[in-house]
C-alpha cells in the first residue's frame, strides 16, 4: 500500500492546458513558493458536478500558474450521487481536465458518498486500496485513511506505517473530522478515540478532513494541527458553531487550500471561489520534545 510519487514536470503542457481555460481573476499567492518545498492543494467534498465545483476548479487551475503544486489531496465525497462513467466525467475528469492533462496527480480518500471501488480508479492514485501511504519527497509522508470503516486491520496498518515513517512530516487525511465545530456533524468522537492515541504516539504533525461543508482551522490539539476542508463543491452556510476549537472558520462560500511544506514550517493559504484569500499563515513544526509536552496538555 505504499507508493512513490515521481516528481512532475510542468512545462509547456501545463501552460497550454491552463491557458485554454478562461482564466478567473488572478489569485494572489501569499505562500513562499520556494524551490525545494513540497507544494500541494487540498479539495474536499468536491464531487457534485455543479457550477460551484467548476468555479473552484477554475481557481485551482489559475492558482497553479503561480504556485506549481505537484498534486492534490481529496478529502472524500469525490463523486456524489453515483459512480457511473458519466459521474466520473462530470464530477472529476471535466472540471480538473487541464490539471489531469498536465500530468498532475490527485490522491483521494473515501467519503460516505463514495463507492469504495473508486479505489480502482487510477486517477485517484489509491493503488486499489481503501487506505494507503505515499511519500512525494524526502521529508513528507502522507497517509490516506478510510474513516467510514475504521476496522482493526486498518488501525494495525496505520500503526505499522506510522512507526516506520521516521522523522518525516507526517500528514494524515481522511473524510470525517475528529475535531470540528460543525453544527450538522461536529467532532467524530469515536474516531478520535481510536486515532488520536496513534497520532500522538507516532508524532503526526497535521490532519486534514472534509465531510463538513465549510473551512475550519482548529487550534492545535495536543501538538497536532487540524484542518476541516469540505467546501470544494458544497457549502453549508452558517454551520460553524461557536466552540473553543476554532482558530479561523469560513462557512459562507466555497474554498480550497494550498499548502507548502518546507523543512520546519507548514505554510497554508485558503482561497474562495472568487479567488479571495480566506485564511493564510505559517505553522512551525513542533519538535519531538514539544509534542511530548503538548500531547498531555489540555488545549
Amino acid at each position: 500500500m505504499r507508493c512513490q510519487h515521481t516528481s512532475i514536470r510542468f512545462g509547456a503542457a501545463l501552460a497550454l492546458a491552463v491557458g485554454a481555460l478562461a482564466a478567473p481573476a488572478a489569485v494572489d499567492i501569499t505562500l513562499p513558493n520556494t524551490k525545494d518545498s513540497v507544494k500541494i492543494a487540498i479539495i474536499g467534498d468536491s464531487g457534485t458536478g455543479d457550477s460551484a465545483q467548476y468555479k473552484i476548479a477554475e481557481q485551482l487551475i489559475a492558482s497553479r500558474q503561480k504556485f506549481p503544486f505537484e498534486f492534490a489531496l481529496m478529502m472524500g465525497d469525490n463523486l456524489y450521487g453515483g459512480d457511473t462513467p458519466k459521474d466520473y466525467d462530470k464530477k472529476f475528469e471535466t472540471p480538473y481536465k487541464p490539471l489531469l492533462d498536465s500530468g498532475m496527480k490527485f490522491y483521494a480518500s473515501l467519503g460516505n458518498h463514495d463507492n469504495p471501488n473508486e479505489r480502482m480508479y487510477k486517477m485517484f492514485n489509491m493503488n486499489g486500496e481503501r487506505f494507503y501511504t505515499f511519500k512525494p519527497k524526502n521529508n513528507v509522508r502522507f497517509f490516506a485513511l478510510d474513516s467510514n470503516y475504521m476496522d482493526k486491520p486498518q488501525l494495525q496498518w496505520l500503526e505499522k506505517e506510522l512507526a516506520a515513517s521516521g522523522s518525516d512530516w507526517k500528514i494524515v487525511f481522511f473524510h470525517h473530522p475528529i475535531y470540528s465545530s460543525g453544527g450538522t456533524h461536529g467532532s467524530d468522537l469515536q474516531l478520535r478515540e481510536q486515532l488520536e492515541p496513534l497520532f500522538l504516539k507516532y508524532g503526526v504533525d497535521a490532519v486534514f478532513s472534509g465531510h463538513e461543508h465549510f473551512y475550519e482551522r482548529i487550534k492545535p490539539q495536543k501538538g497536532i494541527y487540524y484542518f476541516v476542508s469540505g467546501g470544494a463543491g458544497k457549502v453549508r452556510k452558517g454551520d460553524v458553531g461557536k466552540t473553543p476549537l476554532t482558530a479561523k472558520a469560513f462557512d459562507t462560500g466555497y474554498h480550497f487550500m494550498l499548502i507548502e511544506f518546507s523543512k520546519d514550517t507548514m505554510h497554508f493559504q485558503v482561497i474562495s471561489e472568487e479567488g479571495k484569500t480566506i485564511d493564510s499563515g505559517a505553522l512551525p513544526r513542533f519538535s519531538d520534545a514539544d509534542k511530548k509536552k503538548l500531547s498531555t496538555a489540555t488545549p
Binding site: 450521487g81 460516505n112 469504495p116 471501488n117 487510477k122 486517477m123 475504521m150 468522537l189 469515536q190
Partner: protein
C-alpha cells in the same frame, strides 16, 4: 525403586487430572455460533473467488466504465452461483440473536447512534434483497469503530453497513448485499 517411581507417576497423573478438572478453561458460550458465522462467510468468499476468477477483472484502471463492467459482471456471476440462497442463510436466527446482543451495549455509548444516523442512507431507497447491488445514489453509513470492534472480523472486501435499523453484510468488490439482519438495532 521401580514400584516407587510407578507410584509417583500415578500420583502425578492423578493430581494433574484433578487440577485440570478444577481449572477448566473458560469456554466462550458463543464460540460455536461465531464459528458457524465464520464458516458461512468463508463459504461465501470461496464462491465469490470462483465468480471473480471467471469475470472481467476488477483492477486498477483509468477507465471508469471498466470498473462498472467488472462490478456488474461480478454481481451477475455471484447471483447465478448463489441461486436459491435466501435471507438468513448467513444471519441464521441464532446468529442474528447473538449479533443483536453484541450490538446492544455499544449503541448505548454516547454519540454512537448519532454518528450512525449522521451518514445514514434512506432505508426506503435500499432494496433489501440479497444478491442485489447496493443502490448507487445512496451514501454508505459510517460504521463507528467501537461497533466494528464488537462484531466478528470479516475477510477483506466484505463489510458491515447499517441502513436504518438493519445491518447489511456487503460484498465491497461487487457492491452487493450478501445477507442482512433486520432490526439489528432498536
Amino acid at each position: 525403586m521401580t514400584r516407587f517411581l510407578a507410584a509417583l507417576a500415578f500420583a502425578a497423573v492423578a493430581h494433574a487430572s484433578t487440577v485440570s478438572a478444577l481449572q477448566k478453561p473458560e469456554v466462550n458460550p458463543h464460540a460455536a455460533l461465531l464459528a458457524d458465522f465464520k464458516e458461512r462467510v468463508d463459504k461465501y468468499v470461496e464462491l465469490r473467488k470462483k465468480a471473480d476468477d471467471s469475470a472481467p477483472p476488477l483492477k486498477e484502471t483509468k477507465d471508469p466504465a471498466k470498473i462498472r463492467e467488472a462490478q456488474e459482471a461480478l454481481v451477475e456471476r455471484i447471483g447465478a452461483a448463489r441461486a436459491g440462497t435466501k435471507r438468513g442463510d448467513i444471519f441464521t436466527p441464532e446468529i442474528s440473536a447473538h449479533f443483536r446482543r453484541l450490538l446492544r451495549p455499544e449503541l448505548k455509548e454516547a454519540g454512537t447512534k448519532a454518528l450512525m444516523k449522521d451518514d445514514d442512507p434512506n432505508p426506503e431507497s435500499v432494496a433489501f434483497k440479497i444478491n442485489a447491488p447496493y443502490p448507487d445514489k445512496q451514501p454508505l453509513s459510517t460504521v463507528p469503530p467501537n461497533v466494528l470492534a464488537t462484531l466478528p472480523r470479516l475477510p477483506k472486501d466484505i463489510d458491515y453497513r447499517f441502513v436504518g435499523k438493519h445491518l447489511i453484510l456487503r460484498d465491497v468488490r461487487a457492491n452487493m448485499i450478501i445477507d442482512y439482519l433486520p432490526n439489528a438495532i432498536s
